[in-house]
Amino acid sequence: MHTFVYQRATSLADAVAVLKAKPDARPLAGGMTLLPTMKLGLAAPSDLIDLSAIGDLRGIRRNGDRVVIGAMTRHAEVAASAEVRAAIPALASLADGIGDAQVRNRGTLGGSVANSDPAADYPAAVLGLDANVLTDRRTIAADQFFLGMFATALDAGELIRAVEFRVPKRAGYAKFPNPASRYAMVGVLVADYGGSVRVAVTGAGACAFRVPTLEAALGKQFSAAAIEGIEVSASELNTDLHGSAEYRAHLVGVMARRAVAAALG
């Protein structure tokens, strides 16, 4: 690994200032993605700004129809949170299915969302649960946030502070995990907001996306039967050694039905 300057930021303003002054500096959250990437020589930041000592970035709270989760909250904390389990059990179970126990003890919500890995779980929750991404300078709606493979609406040096998820009437998440890595081959989050339904898919395309045909059918009738037989187009989906685009398109339908069943269960 290349050497770098290590710094523990004590406030968000502090971290933002360093990132502004040093264009090749990068924030360090759980390090579960960034450190392996640096070991492989795929990233060589000049500075790492460790966000772990910034208290404002931690914690989970209910605010009206929203659950607000700090960027540095670990996956294991979301999975175990009584607040999240009560308001959005699907989100707790999604967090509980990320990677493995050691990864969940370190990895953070903010790091996962900022990274926009095409196979990551959280992007499906951010998009499906109509979340807002709160940064050091603005609020970005989920529909505007994920732009492509490892690409988001964040500016250079912009930091995620928290993500606020809108509490649905009911929701479910189902993923077909890659048997080796546990990343999503396909993951689908379905959220019923009473009349309007959001269906967000991860693992299948360049980044998380919604499926309007499934949303419309579930909006009329919220049941797995209502989306039986609806074909999802494979045209922009991923093909890799784990599966073809057609296979992933098929999995979107299967996972969507399982997610609806989980929401109803």
Partner: protein
């Protein structure tokens, strides 16, 4: 440039000077000679390097040593000693839950964390809880048996303190 840092390792106060890019596992194995913690893959997959940082299982090949400043770390050496094995170590021995033994320190650290969070797991929960640890020898069967048996032993012991190793 070396960074001075203080932390606790296996209950002892330790002062280290580390380069920013030094991994926690290398600080433990090289600077502190705690070679019970193994490196199997160095790519965050296998869990052989698992230690506890403030009581939680962590892959020490995927954490910088400097990130551990101010924390309390437990390695396999801190869990028990040859004369006084931790119940999990004793259960692994009794159930023949190891063959080459390379994965064993990490496996035991993960299993101890698992029981601390879930003192009475089902077999499926044990298997899911150990997903971050790979064993190429045993086929996992005896590892799972050892963890389930250890849970029973610790639940019947007068104090569960030791579960938090």
């Amino acid at each position: 440039m070396a960074i001075p840092m203080d932390l606790q390792v296996n209950g002892q106060a330790v002062h280290l000077e580390v380069e920013p890019e030094t991994l926690l596992v290398d600080a433990l194995r090289n600077a502190l000679q705690l070679t019970g913690t193994h490196v199997g893959c160095d790519t965050s997959q296998c869990g052989a390097c698992t230690v506890h940082v403030d009581g939680k299982s962590v892959k020490s090949c995927t954490m910088l040593a400097v990130q551990a400043a101010g924390t309390a770390i437990t390695t396999i050496e801190g869990l028990g000693s040859p004369g006084a094995l931790h119940p999990m170590q004793a259960a692994f021995r009794q159930h023949h839950a190891l063959q080459c033994g390379f994965c064993t320190p990490g496996m035991i650290m993960s299993a101890v964390d698992l029981l601390a969070r879930n003192p009475n797991p089902s077999e499926a929960e044990v298997r899911a809880g150990l997903e971050g640890n790979i064993c190429r020898c045993t086929g996992y069967h005896n590892i799972v048996a050892a963890v389930l048996d250890c849970a029973k032993v610790m639940n019947s012991a007068p104090s569960r303190e030791k579960a938090h190793g």
